[in-house]
């Protein structure tokens, strides 16, 4: 009937939306990105989800190690280097690489 192919596509869409990033095949990456929620609320939710996952895995444990905090600080160092790169560019030793 008219909506039969529509139903099949919708099922595939839903199935793709449930997958995590690591399980998505390379060819499906663009369509997977289409299923993600890019509204401000959705972005906020994904940030909060990511934070909770990191927190519950590395910090909210009985015997946490240095890893949880150290990874966070290393990420902060790397990010601040990237933000300052336009300024650090002027300290380069050679002009042509």
């Amino acid at each position: 009937m008219a909506d039969k192919p529509g139903m099949v596509e919708w099922d595939m869409h839903m199935a793709l939306a449930q997958k995590r990033l690591m399980d998505v095949k390379l060819g499906q990456l663009s369509s997977w990105l289409g299923t993600r929620d890019f509204t401000p609320n959705g972005l906020l939710g994904s940030v909060r989800g990511g934070y909770e996952r990191y927190f519950n895995k590395y910090i909210n444990v009985k015997k946490g190690g240095i890893g949880g905090v150290a990874m966070f600080l290393a990420g902060y160092v790397a990010l601040s280097y990237i933000w300052e790169y336009d300024h650090i560019k002027h300290d380069r030793w050679r002009k042509y690489h």
């Binding site: 910090i59 444990v61 015997k63 030793w93």
Partner: protein
Amino acid sequence: MLSRLVLVSGHILKNSGSFGACLVQASRSFHQSSQSRAPVPPLPEKGGKVRHGIFPEELFTLLYPKTGVTGPYMLGTGLLLYMLSKEIYVINHETFAAASIGVVIIYGVKKFGPSVAAFSGIVSADKFDVAQEVKDQAMASLAQGIEDEKKEQWRVEGRCMLFDAKRNNVAMLLETNYRERLHMVTNEVKKRLDYQVELQNLHRRMEQEHMVNWVEQSVIKSITPQQVQGIWSLH
């Protein structure tokens, strides 16, 4: 907010364990959209594994099937050399500062890590004991409340007997009152009837006496003087 508090104190203590737990429990119930009544699972013992302090173990596991054990290290070396040669990472005064700070941090962690971990283990164990005690007290008081409630329910069952006894009491009172009044009525009626009887007796007696007196008087009056002489002459 709360997480940064935990992180800052976690920077000082190696084990940022369960003293953040109570804060996290509160934040968990705020963040979850669907409130479930299942008991909160206990904290995991150890966090995710991290190699050399900053590389999560997942990276090594990811590359192991294709490149074996040295894969990630080769990747790291290659990336480092690429960044150095293309001067994506520029060596300047900051590199020297970073290196010095890194050496100091690593030395500090290696040397004082275990002792700080032991100390924070003691601290979190104390906090855990306090929390456990609070929980035990709460459970005990709730169990006591359950016992008291059961006792009250048992008491309520005896209510019927109580009401029966009360009803019997009231019936007895009513009965006693009724009989008292009955007695009183009987006594009063008897008194009144006795009065009437006495009254009639009095009447009859008075009539009798009066009549007797009258007859005596008339007899005495009818005794003429000649009769009196006649009686005296008999002597």
